[in-house]
């Protein structure tokens, strides 16, 4: 394999070869952040599940709270597990995360629009 200089892997055309082979960037310390993130996402899921299973709130409140929980959840996933805040490779991260948001919000928005009819049917 050619000896590549790894100074700025984000330059277009610069190819990072098989990443297994890239210098191990692993940090030796205890992964406290990851474990906290994991526990937090479990708790958020648990709250949402509890609220829905117990019909704990009126419907419109329920929707609002669940949506907020969903956004928190997404933020934790992106921040803790998806390396959003790591500098390397942000040139590709941003457009793809933008696309993800666009598609995700589009799907949710359209689905709400499509399923609205059921209030007229049932």
């Amino acid at each position: 394999m050619q000896e590549k200089k790894h100074e700025d892997p984000t330059l277009p055309g610069e190819s990072v070869e098989i990443p297994l082979l890239a210098p191990h960037l692993s940090t030796p310390h205890f992964p406290a952040r990851q474990i906290a993130g994991y526990v937090a996402s479990l708790i958020l899921t648990g709250i949402a599940f509890f609220l829905v299973a117990r019909h704990a709130l009126p419907l419109s409140w329920l929707l609002a709270v669940v949506l907020i929980l969903a956004f928190l959840q997404a933020a934790i996933q992106l921040g803790v597990f998806m390396h959003l805040r790591e500098g390397r490779g942000t040139t590709w991260h941003l457009p793809i995360i933008g696309l993800g948001l666009f598609v995700g919000l589009g799907i949710v928005g359209f689905s709400i629009w499509i399923m609205l009819f059921k209030s007229g049917v049932s």
Binding site: V16, E17, I18, P19, L20, G106, S111, K118, G120
Partner: protein
């Protein structure tokens, strides 16, 4: 005998798997498995199988395994299809009972889409993409092996359902409420859910892998706009997979919660909402049909220029139309359920967006035609499939636009018209494309070509059979025949058209048989490809020997233009790919690993536990998954170095070293 034992036997072998034809197949399969095991033992091939294939992480070998598996699944799905058509050849036939008929069309559709078409193009991606972009492997070789084994064991899980426990019967999209426990109490539906879930994880991983590979591992100088179009199609397909599969995961997961844990997301009782399933499924389902067609578009964009000896006409327009199709295909899914009653606003929006897709698709058609225009066309087998694709796909696209007219779709929906439409685009587009690609890259995979004359016959039968099978179905649809009828009464005027369709299906079956014969015969009488460039190709994979060495490129090529290899040939610089002894460097290659197959086996065991609700077994499988992942994460020694002498010797043997 003890009662639990009788209970277990009844659970594993309900009446629906004890039909004489199924028992016959069971016996045949068992005997052939024994024969293969015996052969491997006698020839002392187990070690070879394990070292060279089961633990490999080489993208070329993984690609080959995908393609072989896909051909086997094409056979299985094809047998299902012939069974369906045999039942429908005359009115009121009783070749199969209604339950078995339902199971057969369900497994036909599911197998063809998830276990034939998808692995087939994953295989071609694996075989061709890294070579086309001048890379030594995919970005995550191990993940690639994981993807393959998850697919393989997912497919195995789905396929054993017909001999153990019973097949699913709710159609390939498996709508509730029929797929719920109340109406569908056996284990068949569980098989469907788990098998798609397991192989779906693999598909998402493949999407990520190729996305990263293409964005990060291109040879120096290969900018995005210099990539071969097949690579572009792999890029957009991967993007589509990444965004389309999660909604499917959710739909399947919630159905599983309903069936196994008493939830009621999609049930009729307890305010469940079955229509939400249709919504979620088609958010996945429509992008999925474009996932199936994009690779075929990519293959044709390589085949047409090569066999017309002209650069692709309108490269930029091709790229833009790929991107436009990708974008639009997320905004059309309601066209699969206009009849649900979401109202005129929703339906008009999605009807119009659906029609828009025909525009970029048309652009691509014209560009292929203009590429051929004035070219020197060679009618080799890959090109024949391409030529067959053009009229077939145009008819399919045109009928699609007819379906997109909302008011008319109230008539067409769930009729044979829809069946004819999607077979026109999926068989005439995807399958023709995949077979074209298989013939095209076969010499690169194995080092020998498939016999041309036999290949032509296979094409001729398949193509003729195709038209005879599916054209009558448009008219059957217009005459009111709905899909998924286990039999139909006489006197409706459907008999003749159905008989034609069945005859056509058997002609396609003959075409497939010739194709298999073609492969077997060419294996015995190989026509070796000694140049590495049997078709006078244009892209980088043809600059390598066939098959390529494990590390692909001893020296990563520099790219200055599109169709890089063609340009080198034009300038007489083909020697540039050869090595001089002082240029040799050590090459890192990833090591084989048993981890992926162990992971997939654990998923398989756990899934069986879920299917039969044996919780101990599900937990066992889950622990296996965790163990395999932990082993994989903690292992450090994942790659090895090929020293320069080995590389030099290999290249010398291939005649690729300057004296």
């Amino acid at each position: 005998m003890r009662p639990w034992f009788i209970h277990l036997i009844k659970l594993l072998f309900p009446p629906q798997v004890l039909l004489p034809d199924i028992v016959g197949i069971d016996i045949g399969l068992t005997l052939s498995a024994l024969a293969i095991a015996l052969y491997l033992t006698k020839a002392r091939r187990w070690g070879w199988l394990w070292r060279e294939w089961l633990t490999t992480v080489d993208h070329k070998r993984i690609g080959i395994m995908y393609i072989i598996a896909a051909l086997i699944m094409l056979f299985r799905g094809g047998v299902d299809a012939l069974m369906i058509r045999s039942q429908l050849i005359v009115p009121e036939a009783h070749f199969m009972g209604a339950q078995q008929y339902d199971e057969v069309f369900t497994t036909h559709g599911t197998v063809m889409i998830f276990f034939m078409a998808m692995p087939f193009f994953f295989g071609l991606f694996n075989v061709a993409v890294p070579l086309m972009i001048g890379a030594r492997d995919v970005a995550f070789p191990r993940l690639n092996a994981i993807s393959f084994w998850l697919f393989a064991f997912g497919a195995a899980l789905f396929n054993i359902s017909f001999s153990i426990g019973g097949s699913p019967s709710a159609g390939w999209f498996s709508y509730p409420p029929y797929s719920e426990l109340q109406f569908n109490p056996g284990v068949g539906e569980n098989y469907y859910l788990l098998a798609l879930q397991v192989s779906g994880i693999g598909s998402i991983a493949t999407g990520i892998n190729f996305l990263v590979t293409i964005l990060k591992l291109r040879a120096p100088g290969m900018t995005l706009m210099k990539m071969p179009l097949f690579v572009w199609s792999a890029l957009v397909t991967s993007t589509l997979i990444l965004f389309a599969f999660p909604p499917l995961t959710v739909a399947l997961g919630l159905t599983m919660l309903d069936r196994l844990f008493g939830a009621s997301f999609f049930t009729l009782a307890h305010e469940g909402m079955p229509m939400m399933y249709a919504n979620l499924f088609w958010i996945f389902g429509h992008p999925e049909v474009y996932i199936l067609i994009m690779p075929a578009f990519g293959i044709f964009s390589e085949v047409v220029p090569t066999f017309s000896r002209k650069p692709l006409f309108g490269y930029e327009a091709m790229v833009i139309s790929l991107l436009a199709i990708t974008f639009l295909s997320y905004g059309v899914w309601v066209h699969h359920f206009f009849e649900m009653g979401a109202g005129p606003g929703v339906n008009v929006f999605f009807g119009l967006s659906t029609m828009l897709i025909a525009i970029p698709t048309g652009v691509k058609m014209f560009n292929w035609l203009f590429t051929m225009w004035g070219g020197r066309i060679r009618l080799s087998v890959p090109m024949l499939w391409q030529l067959g694709f053009i009229p077939t796909f145009v008819v399919g696209g045109a009928s699609g636009v007819m379906l997109a007219a909302v008011a008319a779709d109230y008539q067409y929906h769930n009729s044979y018209f829809v069946i004819a439409h999607f077979h026109n685009v999926i068989v005439g587009g995807t399958v023709f494309g995949l077979l074209s690609g298989m013939y095209y890259w076969w010499p690169k995979m194995f080092g020998w070509k498939l016999n041309e004359r036999q290949g032509r016959w296979a094409f001729a039968f398949f193509f003729t059979g195709f038209w005879l099978t599916f054209m009558p179905q448009y008219f059957l649809g217009l005459e009111g025949m709905t899909r998924r009828m286990a039999s139909y009464p006489p006197g409706l005027g459907w008999g003749g058209l159905n008989a034609m369709s069945t005859i056509g299906a058997f002609i396609m079956g003959v075409g497939f048989a010739i194709l298999v014969y073609n492969i077997a015969w060419s294996r015995m009488h190989p026509e070796w490809d000694t140049t590495g460039d049997p078709w006078d190709g244009r892209t980088l994979e043809w600059s390598l020997p066939s098959p390529a060495p494990a590390y692909n490129f001893a020296r990563i090529p520099e790219v200055h233009e599109r169709d890089a290899w063609w340009a080198m040939k034009q300038r007489g610089e083909t020697d540039a790919v050869k090595l001089s002894p002082d240029q040799v460097e050590p090459i890192h290659v990833p090591k084989n690993t048993p981890m992926p197959i162990c992971l997939a086996v654990s998923f398989f065991v756990g899934s069986i536990g879920m299917v039969f609700a044996w919780h101990w077994m599900a937990i066992l499988g889950g622990l296996g998954v965790v163990a395999a992942l932990a082993y994989g994460s903690l292992e450090d020694d994942t790659d090895r170095e090929l020293d320069p002498t080995t590389v030099l010797n290999t290249e010398k043997r291939l005649g690729r070293v300057h004296p």
